[in-house]
Amino acid sequence: MTLTPLDELFLYSGITVLVALLLGRRLPAGWMVTILYGIQLLALMKMAPLGYGGEPISSALTFEVMGQSLSWRFDALSWYFALITLGSALLSSWYACGEWEQRFRQSGGNLWLFHLAMTLNVFSMLILLASGDLLSLFIGWELVSWAGFLLMAMAGGVATKAAMRYITYAMAGAMAIFGGIALVYVSAGSLQYEAILTAASQMSTAHLWMLVILFGAGFGIKMGLMPFHLWQAPAYAETPGPGSAFLGAISSRMGLFAILLVLVKLFGIVNIDSLKIPFTLIDARDLLAWIAVFTIIFPTFTAMKQNDARQLLAWHGIGQGGYMLLGLVVADAMGAAGGLLHVFNHATYQAALFMAVTAVIHRTGTADLNKLGGLVVRMPLTFMVLLVGIIGLAGLPPMNGFVSKWLVYRSLLNEGMPLLFVAAVIGTLGTILSVYKLIHNIFLGQLRVEHDNVKEAPWSMMIPMLILTAIIFITGLLPGIPLAWVASVQQAVGLPVPDYTLGGVESASGSLDMIWVIGVLFAGFGIGALIFYFAGGRSKRVHQLDNYAGGHFLTADVRYQYSDNFYAGLMHLIGGWYRGSFLWLEQSVKSLVEFLSLGMQGLYRRANAEFYLLSTALFVIAWVVI
């Protein structure tokens, strides 16, 4: 059988898994795996025309099982997501090997299992992305959730607990999807996309409602949408460094890929739009929009309260997921483009941020925001990476985060949804506040005495971070490049396509040209620097203890830094609003199961079993006779 490019990709990915499995014990395993990721990326590049509107490439490998046929193929949508997956995988594993690897092995971490889990994750994600029909989609989905479980659980202790919680959620999601697939199979006769497409149009609304709920809930759990988001933050935060960078960047976006594939491509936004929730004026699309908006607001403000840098970033991962879904659900040209572009942008700066935080942990040993401070003088490059990352995360002009958020806002503005627009802006402001807390507590303020001889992150960790920063800035300056891929994805999925230029988006009702905006911004910085450096006299650098303290003589042993309970005023007001934010939902389900199992076990303790036998026999006969 001829090896199509897709098969090559699978082949290389399989080889990477084998290499990690067999040669994982020896030291250069990290580098070998990284190189293999590079080869996989090259294989993906061979399918580049897909990103620019090419024809889908199908794989030669097909199965015929129990009357179901399984096939795999790559189209623009899967190519786009595969690009992000392989990109973040390559950079995360490059970040892993080198000094971090030795430190991880010394501190008792199981390096072989780590690389194996990463390669399994990538391999299962590629299978999921290439799924040709609903059954192979489900198979890929299960593999991804189990590989994710392996990566999360390997760190032991707290990580295993978080992974256990994750797997219960994931299994619930998988079963919901499994139920949905069964229903679709019954109504559409077969699980091929084409058959479903035709069947979707004439489905009864009740049937369609059932499917939307099942698939929405199933994929929503993986994406960490509002009611099911509790597992994501601890799970991603506890995974060892590069693992959290990889998971944070792409793992929960698989849920978005599946929603895009199933809800948008197969069922089509138009019939989802027609689903009216009885006696309320909102329909399914608004429901999804409101879930997305709540997913933006609550996790962002929970992130603000976190005292651990990784937890803060993980909570933001959930929040940003809300933007992507919001963009997609608005489903006009700009909104969908914004949502999809946000997937790419978020992957870049989330990975950069997690790597920067891991570098800080690598050097200082802690990620607790109250035990750090003033590291900008000792780790300037990591500071620069974190700065670029948080500008991207907050969505401010020079970086790429701004472009995708601008598109989402534009679409909300065009569609005239004020409450959604305002809620999204509240999310952005919340992000700005909490990211400033992140960078202030780690890098600004007084340097602690024990961090005086901290060194900059090693070069093996620094290079991937710098590459990511470059990507963030370039895609911010020239959003046209990713927008081209996004446009081809929109075509593949059947959404309207915006007319994009290299600098941004042209449209009658207000356009964006990032090259001009950034050009003017840097011109402004230039003039500001001119005034500052030439108009003013010379300035002298002073020691951090030479500071105004109301006439008090500052000494090194007294800590002169404000980092604990950072937004006291704000927390004072809204601290009580979202104590557990849906924690009660999870607790209630768990206690219900506990209670029921108690009852059931009581049943089996009954001594007089015979009484049961007779009573059931009589009951059954009576029921039959009458």
Partner: protein, 298 residues
């Protein structure tokens, strides 16, 4: 828009902004003085202050990020000016709409936040924490107002919004079409100026002027320049959103000074709000007014 002409505009607009901004600072201090039955500073006082600050011989810097913070503060506003159309010059307003302008106005406060962070002074950090909370407070009504106006005009491009308002002369002014939104916008603008009732983050008594505690010489001069730009940008934004921008330079300046006079005169009559009260106030009245206004517009 020949490139040469564009370059001139890109240089001229910030300069105009700076001069008008200084005049606005003077007006503010004069109004404050008159309210306290004082004579108030001479005409060129803001200029004297800025020149004196820039002519200081010894200045204290706490590191590269401290300097970059000030540069970003000034540079951010200079860039924001070019997005604000003034009579006769539109700069690059079409290239990015109101949303871009709103974000560009956030960059200076974030640049300043970074600079103050490096000063390693808790007074500064507390000030910045309060400033960002205040930003969270006043930005929500501001965004509601901008949504209302942009939706009414059907575009985010400032030039078109002004054109729409100027089309019908007085009747089609934003304030006339959407009075409720105008009031909400006024309160939000007042808070964004960070003047008296809402200046919790410069509270001299508690946190020694917050962010500006470690700013000597040219750093403080940079912040004074930023203050001029801030006054100019906020008032001109309000004018172009609600009062139909300026057809001629005279009525444009008249409108912006009048618009600025209102919050500034209110400013010196009220004691300072605590952070929670500021949040509660800004999330209660302007947001409600804004939503009602937007409801009308929809």
């Amino acid at each position: 828009m020949a490139p040469m002409e564009l370059i001139i505009e890109l240089i001229l607009m910030p300069l105009v902004a700076f001069v008008v901004g200084m005049m606005m600072v003077l007006m503010m201090r004069r109004i404050a003085a008159k309210l306290q039955r004082r004579i108030g500073p001479p005409f060129f006082q803001p200029l004297y202050d800025i020149v004196k600050l820039h002519s200081k011989r010894t200045q204290v810097s706490h590191g590269l990020i401290h300097d970059i913070g000030i540069v970003m503060a000034m540079g951010g506003y200079i860039a924001a000016e070019t997005l604000l159309p003034v009579p006769g010059m539109t700069g690059i307003a079409e290239k990015g709409g109101i949303i871009t302008l709103l974000y560009l106005m956030m960059i200076p406060s974030l640049g300043l936040a970074l600079g103050v962070g490096q000063c390693a002074n808790p007074n500064g950090s507390i000030g910045i924490a309060r400033a960002l909370t205040a930003m969270l407070a006043y930005d929500i009504p501001l965004v509601i107002v901008i949504f209302g106006v942009a939706y009414a005009a059907g575009t985010t491009n400032l030039v078109d919004i002004i054109a729409v308002q100027q089309a019908g002369g007085f009747e089609t002014w934003g304030a006339v079409q959407m009075p409720v939104l105008a009031i909400a916008g006024l309160i939000a603008m007042h808070a964004s100026l960070g003047k008296q009732p809402f200046e919790i983050y410069i509270a001299p008594a508690e946190i020694a002027t917050g962010p500006m505690v470690e700013m000597s010489g040219k750093y403080l001069g940079g912040l004074f320049v930023m203050q001029c730009f801030q006054l100019y940008t906020t008032s001109v934004l309000y004018v172009s959103l609600f009062l139909g921008g300026g057809t001629t330079w005279f009525d444009f300046l008249l409108k912006s000074f009048l618009v600025l006079a209102i919050p500034v005169s209110i400013a010196y009559l009220f004691p300072r709000y605590r952070t929670e009260d500021l949040l509660r106030l800004m999330w209660k009245w302007p947001v409600m007014l804004g939503l009602i206004g937007v409801a009308f517009v929809l």
